[in-house]
Amino acid sequence: MKIDRRGFLKIGGLGILGVAVKPVIDVVSKAKLAEASSKKGVLVEKRLAMVVNLKNCKEGCTDCIAACHGVHNVPDIANPKDEVKWIWTESYENAFPDQEHRFIGGGMKGSPAILLCNHCDNPSCVRVCPTKATFKREDGIVMMDYHRCIGCRFCMAACPYGSRSFNWRDPRPFIKKVNPEFPTRTKGVVEKCNFCEERLAKGLIPACVESCKNKALVFGNVEDPNSEVREILRSNYTIRRKPGLGTGPQIYYIV
């Protein structure tokens, strides 16, 4: 359904109207569905997603965090007030507040869950951004333009997953080793996980996925029925964070 709507948006040339007219399009698109899917070549479909297998995630291991933060020049500010993080851990109960109960078993209670931006299908951060500094790509990656961001932090209020960090101060002194291939940020802009867009462009997989020795992270195109992510989603029961909010998170968890 989502795919066809996007296809229809393109065909109708309505893409620019974007989110504001989305509910209307939702209704219309059903009728136009057949028409849209018949036009070949328009529906280049790709939807990047990740599966996090918390069963494989070793307690105390921070390989993925180190890899991501290293490659993306994420400053290491210990102070929780000013901290910046792209991928991090939080206790299971905090990550999945709507799944929490007194008798959580399977070793999940209090155990850390890997969190990152969900690259939502219907991202509220994109909807609220007044400058399009946060935007969603065709392949589903929710991206940031650090040069356009005015630092209003509307997106931080809008993200229901706490995925966004603001540079409350100059981050550069807190970067231990600068990776010259990725830009450092200035104070006053927001940042978050970019699904390693810069690595994907070079044909590499995301740094966190690459760094995990236990195969706790799997990345791929969920629109491709033969992809590894799809295979895992088929054979395992997975959950997502706060699915009831309608944001359509694209990080799936095996617990």
């Binding site: 007030k81 000013d82 905090n94 400058t131 005015i150 630092g151």
Partner: protein, 385 residues
């Protein structure tokens, strides 16, 4: 007319210099913020909006003072307000300017502020807020200035002003509605996710704006030869009484829904402000202060005997103003972030630089207001003499 702002008594100049001094201190602290970044404030990764955005939200409300005098005068021909429409319009001008400056002060990259215009994004409520606020500012400047200029020449205002006045009435409603939408449309922020946000904004605005206007009118009567009129003040008092009652009623509605439904994502925020969560309860005394002030103000305002006594009415207005300031100028914004979507309670306390920058912007607003009022009153005194 502007020359009238440049001739004034010692008191006028004293006030202006005092306000300029506070602005200067604020500017020095802003320079610090400019160099260091917003980390100089108490805001954090969890509580990412604080005092600045809260002041902006509160002041959008104060800007409503204009419509509450313009509407009765122009739509219902209520003559007593004719003398003070200009006072309401100039309060609107000063408060909208403060709103805009508070937004700029809150931006991480203020030099890029124009990106909102360069890359217009209709899906963003901030984009619409920019339009309605600037529009309201322009309307009130045009209307206020032209009506005053023609009053001075004892001619009716130019014909094109009338439609602008009519437009300004629904426009005033729009600034509160759109500002409320900034909050009321965000998934995962249970404290704000309520359809009654916009009505609440309107009710508190129609209480707070006129309350300030009453106080200003009383000050003007005291210090100048211009009398805004007993009737006008009394009727503004009634408006404050009604609006404040409705505001308190709306808050009670929220409290019912939240505590009867027992949905944690909504309830935790209210528990945080009324009782505190665990050892975290910095806002509890503030919230109870706001509640108590609201109750006292209602007793004074609803009772006609107390309301008719101007000194008590003035006291009630001060109380209304502070009660609303705590509720809207602080608690409403901060509590939306506490607890965070991840259930973490990270409290917020504004820092010294943040407080002085805030005071500096308020001082700037009052200076603008003082200058505009000086002009308006000089014209009025001239006519009456």
């Amino acid at each position: 007319m502007f020359e009238k702002a440049l001739i004034g008594s010692k008191k006028y100049w004293g006030l202006a210099i005092g306000l300029l001094a506070i602005m200067g201190v604020g500017a020095i602290f802003y320079l610090q913020q400019w160099n260091y970044g917003l980390g100089i404030t108490g805001m954090s990764r969890d509580v990412s909006w604080g005092l600045y955005i809260a002041q902006f939200t509160f002041l959008v409300g104060v800007a409503a003072s204009a419509v509450m005098v313009v509407l009765p005068y122009y739509l219902h021909n209520y003559k007593a307000f004719g003398r003070i429409t200009i006072l309401g319009e100039f309060v609107a001008v000063a408060s909208v300017i403060m709103c805009l400056v508070f937004i700029i002060a809150d931006l991480g990259q203020p030099t890029r502020a124009l990106n909102i215009v360069l890359y217009p994004t209709p899906s963003s409520i901030l984009f619409w807020d920019m339009i309605v606020l600037n529009g309201y500012l322009l309307l009130n400047i045009l209307i206020g200035w032209n009506v005053l200029a023609s009053e001075r020449k004892s001619v009716p205002p130019p014909a094109w002003v009338k439609p602008l006045i009519y437009i300004s009435i629904p426009w005033a409603v729009s600034i509160h509605t759109v500002t409320a939408f900034i909050y009321a449309g965000l998934p995962g922020r249970g404290f704000w996710l309520t359809a009654i946000m916009a009505p609440r904004f309107l009710a508190s605005a129609f209480a707070g704006g006129p309350a300030l206007l009453i106080l200003l009118s009383l000050i003007i009567r005291r210090f100048t030869k211009f009398d805004p009129g007993k009737d006008a003040i009394q009727n503004l008092g009634k408006i404050v009484a009604y609006a404040m009652s409705i505001n308190v009623f709306f808050i009670l509605l929220e409290i019912f829904t939240v505590f009867y439904s027992q949905i944690p994502e909504h309830m935790h925020h209210f528990e945080y402000i009324f009782a505190g969560l665990g050892e975290h309860g910095k806002l509890v005394p503030w919230m109870w202060a706001s509640v108590s002030l609201a109750v006292v103000s209602l007793i004074l305002l609803v009772n006609p005997i107390t309301r008719r006594r101007e000194s008590i009415l003035a006291l009630a207005c001060v109380i209304v103003f502070f009660s609303l300031w705590i509720e809207k100028g602080f608690v409403l914004v901060v509590t939306g972030f506490i607890p965070s979507p991840l259930g973490r309670v990270f409290e917020y306390t504004p820092t010294v630089p943040e407080i002085f920058i805030t005071l500096g912007i308020w001082a700037m607003g009052f200076l603008i207001l003082a200058i505009l009022y000086k002009i308006a009153i000089a014209v009025k005194e001239e006519i009456e003499a």
